[in-house]
Structure formats: C-alpha cells, structure tokens
Symmetry: C2
Subunit: 701 residues, 2 copies
C-alpha cells in the first residue's frame, strides 16, 4: 500500500458525480476548477453528463487506466465499488461516507473493520471513511468535498486534519498557501502518521500544519517527529485536550485514546514540534514559517516598528506577554535612527517611527536597514493594519521599502502585524509574501506567531536525547495489570541505587535481633526504622516509621512497635521486614517521578517538594531519556529554582548532582520501559554537596 | 467651558478647506459625506469653492452663527484664527496641528500653554491640539481628519482615544457602531476625563471604549468611574504599560505620568472597569456589550454550540484558558438534546451539534432553546466562521433559528465566535446584531470577550467600598519629600495598634534599668529586645535583635549589646531606645503593605510571607478602603490560600481575623492619606485564633 497512489494519483474517477447539492456535486466542481480535464472522469450510471462533463456508466467504461476512485455515494455502495475499482487497477480510494467507527456503535465498528480488510487484501490505499478528501496543489489533484471561493492556493504548507470542518476553514482562509490539504477522516488504512511521514519527506512541503485528536501509531508518529527534527522541518500542531472538558470531548468525538496531555507537551518539546491553541494560530504560524526566507538567528531578539505611539506601547506589552524580548538598540543603530527619524521621535525598541515615515520609501528603508543591522536583533515586525480596501497609500511606500531591504543579503526575517481583524488586500499580501514578508493575524495572534518562530529557531536537536525507548519496540505492546504492583521501599531503592543514586545506607531486618545487628554494624549516630511492605504506602500515618533511634534498645522497641502497628492497622498487608536506615541530615526536599505513558513511554517529572509541588504545581515534565542540557532547560522553567541557587544568603545547592540524578532516573526509566509503570522518589534531599533519596516507590506494570 | 459646544455643535466651519491631500481635504470629504449640507461651511481665503462647495474668505463672512471651528491649517495660524472665531461667537475649537507639548521641547510646551490660556480666557472648549477630531453619529457632526470607507457606523459605543491612529483603526473596522468617536489629542483644555464624563452621562452611549495612556485629573477620572459603576455602564479600557518597555514608551510618547500599573488594575477592579490587552479585544468586547440585549445572570456558566467535533474540543480548551466555566447540562436539557440531535451525537457542554443541524432551522432552534433553558447556563456561544462571501447556506438556517429564539422572553444572551480571521458578511452580521447577537472576533479574542462580559455581569458595586480618599481631596495636592521619613518600629506599631490590630505587648526602654523594669512588669515567659530607630531598617543583620530572653540578666546583656551594635554598625543612626516585646508564638507569616499612589491614593497589598511573596510573587493589590467582601474576593486570588485553609491536616487558620486586619489597615491608609507614603507590616503572624503583627514600618510622605 503506497500513499502516493492517493496523493499523487494521475487519473481520478469521481463515483457518484451529480448536479444535486452535496459532496458529489462539490467534488465535481472542484476537480473541474482545479484539475486538467484529461485527468478526471465522472461516473454515474443514470446520467449522460454532469455539469457538462461526460459521465461513464461505471469505472470499467473509462477508456484510460484510473489510479484513484473518489466514492461520493452512500455507505452501502462502498465495498462493491471498491471491488469493481480494484479489478480495474485502482490503487487508491477516497471514501466520504460516514456512519462507520466514528458513530461508536458496534455495527459501525464492524463495517469499518470490513472496509479496512477489503482494502488491505487488495493493497488499496484508503483515505477515510468519513473524510472530506484532499487537494494536491503541486500536481493539481483536487478530489475535495467542500467548495470555497476560487483562488490560487498553491504554496508550501502541507496540512493534515482529523476534522473536515477545520480543513475547510483553512481552505476558506485567504492567507493560506498549500502544498497538500488532507482531510484524514477516520484514518483507517492510511493513517495520520502516514500522511505526516509523507509530508515530512516531501520536497514541496516546507512546513506541516496538523490538527490532531489522537495518535493511533505512536511509534510511527515519533519516528516522523524525529525525522522532521533532524531535517529541521517545522511541524505545527493543534491538538485539543489541554482542559479536562477537551479530553472528554475528543474521546467521545473520534474515540481516539489520547494519553496525558502533558506527555504530548513533553514529546513536542523534545522533537521541536510547535503546539498552538487554536486554528488561527495554527494558520498564521504555519504560513509565516513557510513565507519567511530564513529563520531568525538564535539568541537574538525582536525589533518592532509601528507608525504611532499608541500602537508601539501595545506592542511592548503584547510582546512581553508571550515572552518575547525587545533588546535595546546599539549606539550605532540609535545614531542612524536619530538621523532618519523626525526630531520629536525617540529611537526606542519597540519603535514609533511616526506616520510621516510611512509615506517615504527611502527613509522607511533606512529605518528598516538600521534596525536589521543591529547585532542584537534577529527578527523585525512592522505594525500596520493592512485593510481590504486601500484608502491610505502608506502601504505602497512601506512595501517598496521592504522590497529594497529584503533583497539584500544582510536582511533578516520581517513580518507584518495588523492591529485589527480584517480580510487583507490580496495584492499587497501577495507582494509582501513574494519577498518573504508574511502578513500575520491580528496582534495577539501575531505576537504568538513570532514567539513560535523564535522558539522553533532556538530548537537544537543536538541538545536533546531523541532516542526514546519507543524506538526499540518491535511492536506497540501495552501490558497493564489492574492491580497495584508495588515494590517495597527497600526494593525500590535498590533499583535506583544500582544507577548510582545515593539512598543512604539501609538494610532490611527480618527479626528484632537482626535489626539490632544491622544497626550495630551500620555504626551511625542515628537511625530510622520503617516497615518494608509492598502494600503499605503511607507508612508514617499508621505508626510504621520511627525516627532518631540512637540505641540498640530503641531499635528493639521500634522494631516491635512497627510490626505491631502494621499488623493492627493494615492486617492484610504483606510484611517483608523492617528497614533500618541511616538517618541522613535534612536537605532541601525535591521530588522526582517517572510515569510510563501507554502510547509514548516513560516521562520524568521533577520539582521542589512540599507546597511548591502541591500548592503551586511547580513541576516540569520531560520525555526520557533526558540529556544534561535538556534537564538544564527544564530546571530554568521551575519558578522555585531560585530556592536552590543560594536564596536569601543560603549556600548554593549542588545542582550538578541533581541534574545527574534526573539524567540517571531517565536512563533507568528507559531501561525498565517494558516493566515500569511508575516510580516516585519523594523526598530526595539536595545538599550543598550531593543528594540522598530517602524514600522511593517503584510500581510495576 | 462646556464640552457640548464641541460634541453637540450645530454649525461647523472647516478652516483651511482644500482639495490638496491632507487633513483639510479629508475633513471636507467627511463632513460632506456624513453631515447635512446646511450645517457645515468651508473657509479658505484663496478659494471660491472646494470640492464643489462654496468657500468663505473668513469665518466672519459665514451668514449663520458658527458654534464650532475646525482648524486644519498649520500651528502658526491657530491663535489668530481662534481670536477671530471667538469674536464671531465660536464656543468650540478643534485643532489638528501638532508640534505642541507632545514633541517634548520647551518651545512646544510654551505654545501649548499659550493656546490653553487663550481658550480658557475666551471660555472656548478646545479639542486637541494634535488630535484627529471627532464624529458624533447621533447628531451627524463629523469633523474627523481621516477617511475611511463609506458605511453607516451609528450605534451606541462611545469611544475616546489618546491615539489618532487607534481611533482610525476603529473607524476602519466594520464591526464597530458608534455614538461618538473622539480623538482627544493632547487633551489640553477638554481632557480625556471630560469626554469620559460626557459619555457616562450620555443617553445614546451604552458602552464606553477608551484608549488611555495616562490620566491628568485623577479625581475627575475616579468620579467618572464611580458614576459609571453606579449606573452599571460598562467602560472598556486599553491602557499600555503592563510591561516595563510599555511604561517607558508611554512616558516618552505623551509625557503622561502613569502611576504603578498594578494600581490601575486595582482601581479598575474596584470600579468594575474592563481592562483589555489590545485594540481588537477593546473593539470586540465593547461592541459585544453594546449588542447583547441583557447581561448574563450572575454565577451562571457558558454553553458553547459548534458544528464539528474538532471545533468543540478547541472551544473546551480556549474557554478554560481564559477562566470560563462550562457547566454540565441538567437531565432535562440532556433529554431534550438527545431528542433533537442525530443518534451519533453526544449532548455535552461544549456541544457538537453536528453540521446536519445547521441546515435545519427548527432543530437548531430546539437545541438553542434547550441549552438556554438550562438553569446553569447564563450565556450561549455559537461557534461558526462567518465568511465575507457566503458559499454555504448553513448561516441562513442558523440565523433564522436565532431570530426565533432571541425573540422569546426566556432567551439568554448569545454570541457568535468565528474560528478564523476574515471580514464577515455584512448582511448577516447586521441581521444578527439587530436581534442582539454580536459576531465576536476570532476565537482567542471571542472567548476573552465572553469572559469580559461575564466578569462585568458579576461586578457588584454594593460589594465594594467605593469611597476612596481621593474623593475627599479639595485639590490634587502631591507633597513628597525626597528623604526617607520613617517612623521607628514602636511608633509604627502604635499607629496600627490604635486601629485595633494586635501587636503583642511592647514598650521602649531608654536605659538598661528601664528595660529590666519593663520586662518584670510585662510578666512574660520570653521576651524579644530590638533597637528602636527610624534609621535602622534591617535590625537583625547588624545584631540589633535579641530573641528568647528569659531572665533579667539576659535583658540587661541584650540591652547593652543592642546599643553597642547599633552604635558600631550604624554610627549615624538616631537611637530612640530599645523595644522590649513579648515574644509571641510563631504563626504562619503574612505580609500586609500600604503604598500611596501619587495620583490615585492608597492601595493595600497582601500575601503569605517568605518565598511565596519573594519567589512566586503571590500577592494581591486593592485600592483602599476595602470592604470585607472585597478582601474575600482578593484572598481567593492568592494561589497560596490553601496553606491557610487547613493544608495537609493542619488546623484552619483564623481567616476572619486576617480579613479584619486588612480592612482595618485599609481604613488606616485612608485616614492617613495626606501623610502616609508606605506602611509595611511584615511579618504578621496568623494563628488558629487571632493574629499578631510583630514588625511594622511606617514611612511618612
């Protein structure tokens, strides 16, 4: 099964061509408008012609070999048509009909299975069912189920969407320029992952925009992301599910099993995928990335030029809100700006260049040049509300200035940000696009798009450890037991100890006398005794932890009390003994956790313990394995990080040791991928020198 | 001076009428398009007619009495023209010319002063200088300096803007419908506050939208806000300055002195002003408030209806992101929805009503009705991307359904949210507007607008103490000394003690023996000794605090050491004695602070002490005085509030006592308004029962 049979098909048959309103008519109109007439054939047994085009009785009657069948007729006709098509050499089929798996009934599921089987057996690439078709703007193949205004949409954004409505909105949007637009529907044979893989490898696609509800083949999905990361091809993803309501809805909409949403964030962070919040941000970010001629240089800031003081102040606030940085201009830049600007204008960044300059090509070009040549600047935004009807000719002079500057080798990426919604004047949008200047969406969206571009340009795959355990799996095997399958604390600590993580000294006693012997041989000033049981998770609450034990007698008493409390308060729990541990000095409490996503594998969470985790939810999550550099970047996202770096005159804590622990735990998580469900190390004490994990809980799958 | 002479003028003379491109020509075109021909007169000594309209040589030649002069000619002509106009009975003048105070030169400042004086003397209402004029859509007065497309813009949003560019963008925007649009310019005689006051009192204005850079008359400003709050007339404000760059730019743009930005937030919170982030949010919020027929009921949630599963999931996330709540539907609603929806659709909130229903007026109306009648729902949003060219007739059926439902008494506010930017089809926008359904801006903006509407509907002036001290000032007097003018800790505590706030027992000793006597008479188990000095702020750091003193001998030693350390480590500080204080038990540390804004008066800040303030910046700020209800609302915004409410099995702390302290401090701040600069109570211990302030610092103006 080859996806090119769908997307790159040469001769297309529209089955169910009709003049009656609906998918059939609209598909006919689309192919008539966008395809060469020798490449499409209409099929309808009861019509001689449709919309003036000859109709064949069946696919067998078409005089040329057909690659692709687009089935516009109802569900009950589909299988018979595929069999007939297959006999006539068809290799790809698009099925619009709905009523399959997406309705959630057993009947629908079975019909979807049957359709899948049929296509598999006959080696047919199937798009859908329940899809809206696709448009290949490169080769002019356009079997798409919805009509939009006539317009040239050819460009370099490749779109895959699990929602037909959203892809229609993108087709309707004048700013978009596509290589491919694919409505994947139920994605039963050709999956979203297949389409993404195709687009990542496709030369004509510069940027991929995807609307995803869930992933059915996680391994293929991450392989595609990794491939894109290595090629530095941007993938922009809109995926609902940040909110609880969103998760519930997606589940009921497509039945997609979506893992924890934070795991998607971690996965996207690792592979440099840009995640957006809504359709408009998806479009403006993808189209901007496809339009700019190069990415901004790393670690450089934004310069903003507007024509009024009011807009400039708003730009300052909006930029800061999304985390963009406006560097101050260098002395040379300031001097040059002073030379060009009216005397009353101040050369700040963001810059109010005054309306006067927007009517003077040469001066506006000088301002652009000065700002671009500033070594602190990586990208320039021009604030201007381009309208649909032009009654003010400032845009003419500004466009001319941009043309002059953007033709130069030293030029840097430029975008235009409008301050109010509107359809924009197509001529100027096109003129600007052709010189690499995207007109972004209205300010809130525009600044987010710049932030997205900048974050993508900062993404460095070399800093990341991309070898996640999923790549080593031969099949996508998920085994999960229902019951809690915990190890005891001592067993859990032995596992992490084996990775070189200090857990202090500890040993399990199985009798009172053994407890005393262990204590004696340990030669520590103070010891702690704790129950060792796979079933008792909250040891302290039921009197199964005794601290600050200094004498053999205290150890004896503690042993007995712990055993007694365990039996009394948790009678069904298995007791493996009593742990005698060195009582280590109290350090700053951190927590490190592992959880193993059923789809994407292990992720590592960490933060500062206590209220910081519980009240402020100040934690970060990354996909295992993590490189030191990744851990470093994650640490900088913790608000409480200041507390570890010498807060209020306290000594700086041993951050390198903490990073080391996280890297090691992430390695452990990968090695144990097939058997670990969760690991909690809580707390782990961080000191001025070193760390010590004082409690751990390993839960098996 | 009466502002109606500007805004409600009947006969308008355009001085400098011309056909040459610029303000003069554009103003002529505007008055010709939007005013009745008997109400405007062109003046130009060198032209017989302009654009086919007769020109007078001077204002004296105009045969009718002229109320308003619009001066389109350069700065040097302005004063002479005003004198001439004044002789001819002119009461209002609009001055476009720039080069006055806004350029920041001494010359510009002087010319602005001179212009002001002239108008004051002659009792002339002046708009500008450096403004773009105004448009009164109610009475058809339209001396506005910029051209836009011809369109009917009459409505009920009153706009004031300190930026001409931004008001032009609003005029250009097809969704806006104005009562007045005022470009206030440098606001030298008629101020922004005057225009706001006018609009708050104006019957034709339902909603006020303002772009503000700063406030020159704080007293009038808050009077206007209070008046609007009492009338429940919404004011929506865009004010740059949330970011440091924004503050700097505003200062350099208009020279407006803008106070702390957080003080504006607190002021707006008290008076129910809606603050927005950018122009598009300003427009969509103001126009939505002007369009909906009533506000949503308090404490009810949002229901969202979209036509596709994809859009529904996005709505779930976007709503939650801005803090909107989707209540679950009641049983009755669910039953009704199940009856109407296709069998495969699930009746959730947000709701995917499926595309099918958007082609069925009756069914769509049934869904709307069911959702609106749900008792948990206060406002309904319909997700649909209305385009400019309609190629899909769903909007027809949906509009018909909305017409049916919105005509009913039981109907609730409805808005439409598009998912992609576009100019919208004017016919449908107008049809929806006429039944009270605003088409909001694209999703991110749309959900913010709903949140803004909901917050405004939740605003209850009765819950707030609106009597801020500024109202008691006879003049806007600001006295601030340069030097730090601190009281000692004991003096500071006496002031707060006088307001009934427990500070424990304390007394100042002036000798070693007095210290012992105080300790003896205090009869406490443990005491603390601290230096009492207005100059030593960090007492502990230089050995001037001694804790846990239990005997008279310890008191003696402590006294001597404190005096010695103070003299040694801070030789120039004044020493007023040594405080002997009861050592109170440690409680949860809180901080409460007062600062007195030079423009708007005292505000109260509070939070949980230590890392919560310093690392997480988890504090809230409100304008004094604060009612208990206001403090309650503010407390709920503290993330760390959980720590006070019985965190991890700890006892609940005495929140009522804490609220009491804040209300009292806010009263203190008001009473001391004329002399307090700052007050810091840090820490104040909160217990299971009661509070105790253990350190305080009062700084005088």
């Amino acid at each position: 099964m080859n996806i090119e049979y769908l997307l790159k098909s040469k001769n297309v048959a529209i089955i169910g061509a009709t003049e009656k309103a609906g998918f059939g008519r609209d598909t006919c109109k689309n192919v008539m408008t966008y395809m060469d007439s020798q490449n499409y054939f209409f099929v309808n047994p009861s019509r001689k012609e449709v919309l003036g085009v000859k109709c064949y009785k069946s696919i067998s009657d078409i005089p040329k070999p057909v690659d692709l069948m687009v089935i516009c007729t109802p569900k009950h006709t589909v299988e018979k048509l595929i069999i007939e098509g297959s006999k006539n050499g068809v290799k790809g089929v698009v099925v619009y009909a709905s009523g399959y798996g997406e309705v959630g009934t057993e009947e629908g599921q079975q019909e979807e299975e049957s359709l899948s089987r049929l296509c598999m057996e006959r080696n047919i690439a199937l798009m859908g069912p329940n899809c809206a078709g696709f448009a290949n703007f490169i080769d002019k193949v356009h079997p798409f189920a919805f009509l939009s205004d006539y317009r040239d949409r050819k460009g370099s954004v490749g779109v895959v969407s699990q929602s037909g409505q959203l892809i229609l909105s993108m087709m309707d949007n004048p700013k978009m320029r596509f290589s491919y637009a694919i409505s994947s529907g139920n994605s039963k044979i050709s999956t979203v992952e297949d389409y993404l893989e195709y687009l990542v490898n496709d030369q004509d696609t510069r940027v991929i925009a995807a609307y995803l509800e869930g992933v059915s083949n996680p391994l293929k999905f991450v392989r595609v992301l990794k491939n894109a990361a290595k090629r530095r091809k941007p993938i922009v993803v809109l995926k609902p599910g940040r909110s609880q309501k969103g998760v519930e809805l997606v589940a009921s909409h497509t039945g997609s099993l979506s893992g924890s949403d934070r795991v998607y964030d971690a996965l996207f962070e690792k592979f440099g995928v840009i995640r957006v919040n809504d359709l408009e941000e998806l479009m403006t970010t993808a189209q901007a990335l496809a339009t700019i001629k190069k990415l901004p240089e790393q670690k450089k800031g934004l310069a903003c030029i507007s024509l009024s003081g009011g807009e400039t102040g708003i730009c300052a606030d909006l930029g800061e809100q999304v985390g963009l940085h406006y560097p101050n201009f260098e002395k040379k830049t300031l001097e040059e700006l002073k030379r060009v600007l009216p005397s009353y204008a101040a050369p700040n960044n963001p810059l109010d260049s005054t309306a006067t300059l927007s009517y003077d090509t040469e001066k506006f070009a000088s301002v652009l040049e000065a700002v671009m040549k500033d070594p602190n600047i990586g990208i320039v935004s021009v604030g201007y509300t381009l309208l649909q009807e032009i009654s003010d000719n400032a845009i003419h002079y500004m466009t001319e200035a941009l043309k002059l500057v953007c033709a130069e080798d030293w030029s840097k990426p430029v975008v235009m940000i409008p301050f109010a919604e509107n359809t924009r004047h197509e001529g100027y949008v096109e003129a600007l696009r052709s010189i690499g200047v995207p007109v972004l969406s209205t300010s809130a969206y525009g600044f987010r798009a710049i932030r997205n571009i900048q974050r993508f340009s900062e993404y460095t795959p070399e800093d990341k450890n991309l070898e996640i355990p999923l790549f080593n799996k031969t099949e996508n095997q998920i085994i999960e037991s229902e019951s809690i399958n915990a190890l005891t604390e001592s067993e859990s600590k032995k596992i992490i100890q084996a990775y070189g993580i200090n857990c202090g000294r500890f040993e399990v006693a199985h009798s009172r006398d053994e407890a005393v012997r262990i204590f004696r041989e340990m030669r520590v000033k103070k010891a702690v005794a704790k129950i060792d049981s796979p079933d008792i998770l909250h040891k302290t609450d039921i009197g199964c932890v005794k601290l600050s034990l200094e004498t053999e007698e205290e150890i004896r008493v503690a042993y007995d009390e712990i055993i007694e409390n365990a039996k009394k308060n948790s009678p069904t729990s298995r007791i493996m003994g009593v742990q005698i541990c060195e009582m280590v000095p109290k350090g700053t409490e951190l927590i490190v956790g592992v959880s193993n996503d059923p789809q994407f594998g292990p992720s590592i969470m960490f933060g500062i313990g206590g209220v910081f985790v519980e009240v402020f939810q100040d934690t970060v999550l990354g996909m295992a394995p993590l490189s030191r550099e990744e851990v470093n970047q994650m640490l900088s996202q913790l608000k409480g990080i200041k507390l570890l770096e010498g807060y209020r005159g306290q000594k700086k804590l041993d951050m390198e040791a903490f990073i080391d622990v996280i890297v090691k735990v992430s390695q452990l998580a990968c090695d144990h991928d097939s058997r670990i469900k969760e690991l909690d190390i809580n707390p782990i004490f961080l000191y001025e020198k070193g760390v010590c994990a004082v409690d751990a809980l390993y839960i098996k799958k």
